[in-house]
Symmetry: C2
Subunit: 215 residues, 2 copies
DNA sequence: CAAGAATGCGAGCGAAGACTCGCGTTTGTC
DNA sequence: GACAAACGCGAGTCTTCGCTCGCATTCTTG
């Protein structure tokens, strides 16, 4: 009880240390993005950051902790910036508008932080990160379900869940294509993704609720 | 000139050897499916097959060769069984029917050979397999383009390419969901995937050439 | 049945990479 | 200025894993 009140007593850091941590996380983001988590070596991260391996381990107990911290910071930033992107909306909102707004926000985030995609998509990623990923996944799904249920108040729960999974899956497929292109072509893929989602959902909305997707 | 007419002279094999090869490939499929290519150790494959590491290397020069051979056999089987699944069809065929048939065939293949998905999706996979993957990808894309152009004879090439990429992407997203479920739920996801694809393409087909003209 | 080839084994080699350790340098505090 | 704590280093340890080697066993062939 008295001992070990906290698993880890955060070591006292100097400003220099905080800077190093940020620098290391940025370097890790670069390396993870280009090679994936497993193939990324801690030495490579240290080299990218311009420090020695020993210095890296001064701030992170192991390789996994780097990815965890990176993931947590990304999650926090995402929640702060786009937390409301999937909040239930007024069902009179046109479906197209709701989908478009959500897609734009998440695409923007993922384009700004390509690590996020790399971290969340490796088939190789260790347990703790997978947990985070699953948590995010579950959050997103319930948000999407909430959004859908505002359009489809009468849908069976199982169908709602399945539709939400489909939406997230379609979004991920589109995201991959969007990230693989640049400039005008990228914008075109964003548009196609919106089309795919809108057209997928439109019939459900049209037949399942009194509100049409477009007034 | 006279020497080295063939890079590899296929060693004379006994029936036992052929059996071992099949056995090893099957074991590799299991291990690759559950852990992915990179994380799969050759010792684990040998263990799964019930042989020693030395025996494995009697038949395969290295780890990559195992995946290559496995990939080639899968490709061959796929071509033999489903080669015509994406052949251009009579444009009067209902879109729903064309999409449904193609999806059913490819879903069936991927459900029967889950390795295929695992091998083609690792971000970690070495050069030679990626080449094969890209080749398959290109083949599929041109097939889809062909199929689309039979429905959309007036579409601009760039739009056709993009739409084909979207179709393949949407299919892959659906496939992942299908593989993640079983029984009735799996069937439901197959249906949803067909819906997503059909609804995505339907407006294009219905309005003739939506990129250039409006009804 | 012999002889050679194919098959089978598993301890062990070499490289790669996660992580440590001892020691020197910088920074904050009194 | 003095002391401690935080920072920084990079050669070195330890483990994992792809792969090899020497030798035993089983086939095939004459």
């Amino acid at each position: 009880m008295s001992a070990n009140q906290e698993k880890e007593q955060p070591r006292r850091r100097q400003a220099r240390g905080e800077r190093r941590i940020a620098q290391l996380l940025e370097a890790a983001a670069v390396v993870f993005t280009s090679t994936g988590y497993t193939a990324a070596s801690t030495n490579a991260i240290a080299r990218e950051a311009g420090v020695s391996p020993g210095t890296l381990y001064q701030f992170f107990p192991n390789k996994e902790a780097i990815a965890i911290e990176l993931g947590e910071r990304l999650m926090r930033e995402m929640r702060e910036a786009y937390g409301e992107a999937l909040a239930p909306v007024d069902p009179t909102t046109p479906l197209e508008e709701a989908v478009g707004a959500a897609v734009d926000r998440f695409i923007a985030f993922n384009c700004e932080h390509p690590v996020f995609f790399a971290l969340m998509h490796g088939p190789d990623i260790p347990g703790r990160i997978t947990e985070e990923h699953d948590a995010l996944h579950a959050t997103l799904l319930s948000r999407i379900e909430g959004l859908l249920s505002s359009f489809l108040p009468d849908a069976a729960p199982a169908d709602l869940v399945r539709t939400a999974h489909m939406c997230l899956g379609l979004y991920k497929a589109g995201l991959e294509l969007v990230l693989a292109h640049e400039g005008a072509e990228r914008d075109a893929y964003v548009q196609e993704l919106k089309h795919a989602l809108t057209r997928y959902l439109d019939p459900l909305v049209a037949t399942g609720s009194p509100w049409r997707s477009t007034p």
